[in-house]
């Protein structure tokens, strides 16, 4: 693989994706599996615990309901049993003592049964008796309806605790007739124990229901005996019940009217003391209202409902011993009962999370281990490859026939070093002159695949570096320019090459170091140090075999070149000497910077100059060409034409102030010169193998040297014109730069060639000069 290639095609097909999936996917899948299993188990156990808890809750609610039913039965018992007993007593008792029996029975009941509010006794003639507790004292109050019509009055008699009469009061009845009352009519019509609808006594805020029963008196009158029961006691009882932590119990009738339960008073006030309006308001009792709805749809029994993201258990049960089919509704949040299941589940979840975390850690460890194994196996693979390459390279080096031949350069050594260590440059140096100089015997540049040598370093300049070599240890310097031992070596040898790190191995002979091997920018140098050491051994053997013969050869190479032959003084190469064509005769050589010189370069291709044709004919042709060009130059007043081998440099406008006509003169001359050259070449039956390039720009000029003084021009415009000539699109074409085009586009015809990136000039357009407008 080339050092700068990104992908090595010889690599095995990459299974990176598969491996990554294996390394990441398996642990992740494992963790997900553990999470799923734990989650599943947790959910299952939560569900089973919850259902168990709910079953338990239902049992609990059933027993609670039984208890309440019992309590309500007991509560209403005095009404059901007491009414029947009282009826029998009154029916069979002496007719004259009816009131007395009524009063004594009622008084006794009122004193002993707290939920009893009052008793009524009325007959079909409109008589009415009432016994109740004295609202102001601890005794009793009896009320009798006396008189008829407008004179009818309630006569109240107040008794103390012992039954002594305290006082009498009376007040008009206001047309009160017991026979019109619901409890009277209901009892007489049904003939059985009749339960009236509950009603409110506004003054006391008490909810009352009345149980009444009718009987036939001995004198033929129909009597109705009624007992009023206060529901307040029931409400207090329901309030005091503990159902779970925050459960409620309510008693409702079939139409949803509230009979007893929590906040009874609030509901009554809201309904304006009208029992018909005392229904469950879904805004006040959302859960209870829902529970009642569920009961109405699904009937009696336990139900689960969900309200405001909370689960509730409810129970709807019939209450015994009431004719009106009252419903007992029990509601309690599920959490009150199943909370332990939630807590248990949460605890389980925490434990599960702990296990998941552990599993994740294990997964990560597995992943890391997998990656590490991968890396290590890759490293092993790399080492195996290195050792394989090493042995191959050693074989190559060993099989080099002239390895120990002192006259052979054995270039394989540096190349092998550079290849093995992936070095940019590998060099072999020899210590000469008793250690005073280091001579580069061979240096291999791997990027350009080129060998060089003969570089010499002197101890005077590089004391620290020579000491380093003399020390005899291999060293690695990551930044040779920053290390004081190698800084001067870096400056002299490495900086121009552009290398940074240095790996140095001294070559040890019999009596100490005899040279060194340097590897520059060699990332794998550390891996192949023993290979370098082996090469160092080979080099040491070669050095001792060379007996300085190679050194002598190198010295010869380094010697100064022989003096060249004395030049023939044949003028300074001007076809038109500078300034000789000026019309004013004031020509001559000027010096300095000329801001806008038009330069044209004409190159004749090698084919004509190296033509196999008759030399005399060629010379005659060139002569004719030169004469023709001189003529044109004079005609158009060019400043000079200089010949350089097979190139011609024509210059116009060589003055310190910009000459506006120079470019135009040059372009005109170019067109004429092209035509002349084309015709001369075609007459000689030769291809038009010349190209022309023009540029306008600043140029330096001056007379240089002493004897002879030579006029020379140099600057960007010269280089650019030459580039234009060399890069002209076709033979016989004139390529001009953008500057020339800008100056001349009004007067000449140009064809754009395109945009180019040109060295030193950057982005520019070039044009082909086609002719005059």
């Amino acid at each position: 693989m080339n050092a700068d290639e990104i992908v090595d095609p010889a690599d095995a097909r990459s299974d990176q994706v598969r491996r990554f999936l294996l390394h990441v996917g398996v642990p992740i899948f494992g963790v997900v599996l553990v999470v799923a299993v734990i989650g599943g188990i947790g959910l299952h156990s939560y569900r089973s615990i919850r259902s168990g808890a709910l079953a338990l809750t239902h049992d609990l609610l059933v027993s609670e309901q039984n208890y309440i039913a019992q309590e309500v039965g007991d509560y209403l018992g005095p009404a059901t049993a007491g009414t029947v007993i009282a009826r029998d007593m009154l029916e069979h008792g002496s007719q004259t003592a009816i009131i007395k029996i009524f009063n004594s029975y009622g008084g006794s009941m009122l004193r002993h049964v707290p939920q009893v509010h009052s008793f009524y006794l009325a007959d079909s003639d409109g008589h009415f008796d009432l016994i109740e507790r004295d609202p102001k004292g601890k005794g009793l109050e009896t009320t009798q309806l006396t008189g008829e019509g407008a004179g009818a009055q309630f006569v109240h008699q107040f008794h103390d605790e012992k039954g002594e009469v305290l006082r009498n009061e009376s007040n008009p009845t206001g047309d009160y007739d017991p026979r019109t009352r619901d409890w009277f009519r209901g009892a007489t019509e049904s003939g059985k124990l009749y339960w009236s609808a509950p009603y409110l006594i506004t003054q006391t805020g008490q909810m009352i229901i009345t149980a009444s029963i009718a009987y036939q008196g001995q004198d033929g009158r129909r009597f109705v005996f009624a007992v009023n029961l206060s529901m307040n006691e029931l409400t207090n009882f329901l309030d005091s019940l503990q159902i779970g932590k925050s459960g409620h119990a309510l008693i409702l009738d079939q139409d949803g009217h509230l009979l007893a339960g929590r906040h009874m008073l609030d509901v009554a006030k809201k309904a304006n003391w009208d029992p018909a309006k005392m229904v469950l308001d879904p805004t006040t009792y959302p859960v209870l209202a829902q529970a009642f709805d569920v009961y109405r749809v699904q009937g009696y029994g336990p139900h689960s409902i969900r309200n405001r993201k909370r689960n509730f258990v409810t129970m709807a049960a019939p209450l015994p011993s009431t004719a009106k089919k009252w419903v007992l509704i029990l509601v309690a949040p599920e959490s009150d009962f199943a909370n332990f299941a939630m807590v248990d589940g949460r605890q389980n979840l925490m434990f599960s999370l702990l296990i998941v975390a552990l599993a994740a850690v294990l997964g990560a460890l597995l992943f890391r281990q997998g990656r590490r194994t991968d890396r290590v196996s890759a490293e092993l693979e790399g080492l195996r490859a290195v050792s394989g390459r090493e042995s191959q390279m050693l074989r190559t080096v060993a099989s080099y026939p002239a390895l120990f031949d002192p006259t052979d350069e054995a270039l394989i050594l540096t190349r092998g070093l550079a290849e093995m260590a992936s070095a940019r440059r590998a060099s072999v140096w020899r210590l000469m002159h008793d250690g005073a100089t280091l001579l580069c015997v061979d240096s291999y540049d791997s990027r350009h695949d080129a060998h060089s040598g003969g570089f010499e370093l002197s101890r005077n300049d590089l004391q620290a570096f020579f000491d380093l070599v003399a020390h005899g240890d291999a060293i690695t310097v990551p930044d040779a320019g920053a290390d004081e031992r190698t800084v001067s070596f870096h400056r002299l040898f490495m900086r121009a090459f552009g290398s940074r790190s240095l790996f140095l191995v001294p070559i040890l002979g019999a009596s100490g170091p005899v040279g060194m091997i340097t590897l520059e920018d060699a990332p794998r140098a550390g891996l192949v140090s023993h290979f370098v050491a082996m090469i160092a051994g080979i080099v040491a053997a070669r050095f001792s075999a060379q007996h300085y013969s190679a050194v002598a050869a190198a010295a010869e190479e380094l010697a100064a070149p022989p003096a060249e032959e004395a030049e023939h003084s044949l003028g300074d190469g001007f076809l038109i000497p500078p300034g000789s064509t000026r019309h004013d005769g004031q020509g001559g050589v000027v010096e300095g910077l000329f801001p806008a010189v038009a330069v044209m370069v004409i190159t004749f291709a090698d084919i004509i100059t190296s033509s196999r044709a008759d030399p005399a004919r060629i010379i005659a042709l060139v002569e004719a060409l030169a004469v023709q060009l001189q003529t044109v130059a004079r005609d158009y007043g060019l400043y000079s034409i200089k010949m350089l081998g097979h190139r011609l440099v024509c210059v116009a406008g060589c003055s310190h102030t910009p000459d506006p006509g120079a470019a135009e003169r040059m372009a005109n001359a170019a067109l004429v010169m092209r035509e002349a050259s084309l015709s001369i070449l075609s007459r000689a039956d030769l291809d038009p193998v010349f190209r022309m390039g023009i540029d306008v720009g600043p140029v330096f000029g001056g007379l240089l040297g002493e004897d002879p003084k030579v006029f020379n021009l140099w600057g960007d415009a010269i280089g650019m014109a030459e580039m234009m000539a060399q890069g002209a699109p076709d033979v016989g074409t004139i390529q001009v730069s953008e500057e020339v085009y800008q100056v001349l586009r009004g007067r000449f015809l140009f064809r754009e060639r395109g945009r180019f990136f040109v060295p030193h000039a950057g982005m520019t357009r070039t044009y082909v000069l086609a002719g005059r407008r």
Binding site: N2, D4, E5, I6, V7, D8, P9, A10, D11, R13, S14, T396, E419, D449, A605, D606, D687, V689, R691, G693, M723, M724, Q726, G727, A728, P729, D730, V731, Q735, R753, G754, R755, F756, F757, V758, P759, A761, M763, T764, T766
Partner: protein
């Protein structure tokens, strides 16, 4: 870098006719480092197909095409593309992206396949560009270059970098004669470096100047690849 085996080794490769349209005859060819094979072929399309075959772009019914010792059919995509990065190719059909300037078309493959610094690549491209007769590196889009300039650019693109195999289809009808010297120089330099060259020519005149340096001379016909002897 020294390459021991053949650069290109085509062994009884029989192209799949259904997919390529090439005649299903087995082809054998082996190019060692430094070899220059001139393949005379009158039909441009046939030459292009054969060049595709060498580049591993034609499905084979049997046989194998190995480049640098690697069988094209056995490589994964990444390796395949990287290996193709080692081929310098002049294509008859152009293969230019008009979205970019010509300069980008030229240096793209080096930027894609290697870690060479861009400046380095640009300098290299500019050197080649000037050798082939550009004033520098052409920035204009390929669609707006003249045919001759496009042929020059194709040469620059093919010789840029250090390709191990040069597959040069015949563009001699478009390449100006003055660029021929640079072309032959570039071929010689590449061969000296250890590259193998496969040069498709339509006429014998195209490569007459280089005849002494050519060591493999073949003729590509519909019936297969035949060596030309005793020329």
């Amino acid at each position: 870098m020294a390459q021991d085996g053949p650069v290109l080794d085509i062994r009884a490769a029989q192209p799949s006719f259904d997919e390529s349209g090439m005649a299903p005859v087995p082809v054998d060819l082996r190019l060692m480092p430094g070899d220059c094979a001139v393949i005379e072929c009158r039909d441009f399309a046939r030459a292009t197909l054969f060049a595709d075959l060498c580049s591993g772009m034609i499905a084979l019914a049997s046989g194998s095409v190995r480049f640098m010792g690697l069988d094209w059919t056995e490589l994964g995509d990444r390796q395949l593309y990287a290996l193709r990065g080692r081929i310098g190719r002049i294509t008859r059909r152009g293969s230019w992206l008009d979205l970019f300037g010509t300069h980008q078309n030229i240096i793209l493959q080096q930027l894609h396949h290697t870690t060479r610094p861009t400046d380095d690549v640009v300098a290299d491209a500019m050197r080649l560009g000037m050798a082939f007769g550009f004033p520098g590196l052409p920035l204009t889009g390929p669609g707006r270059l003249s045919a001759a300039d496009l042929a020059r650019a194709a040469c620059v693109r093919a010789f840029l970098g250090r390709p191990d195999l040069l597959v040069l289809e015949d563009i001699s009808d478009m390449l100006p004669p003055d660029a021929t010297v640079a072309f032959l120089e570039a071929i010689t330099a590449a061969r000296d470096r250890g590259a193998a060259v496969m040069w498709f020519a339509r006429h014998a005149a195209t490569w007459a100047d280089y005849r002494p340096a050519v060591n493999v001379h073949l003729r590509l016909l519909d019936e297969g690849l035949f060596p030309v002897r005793g020329v």
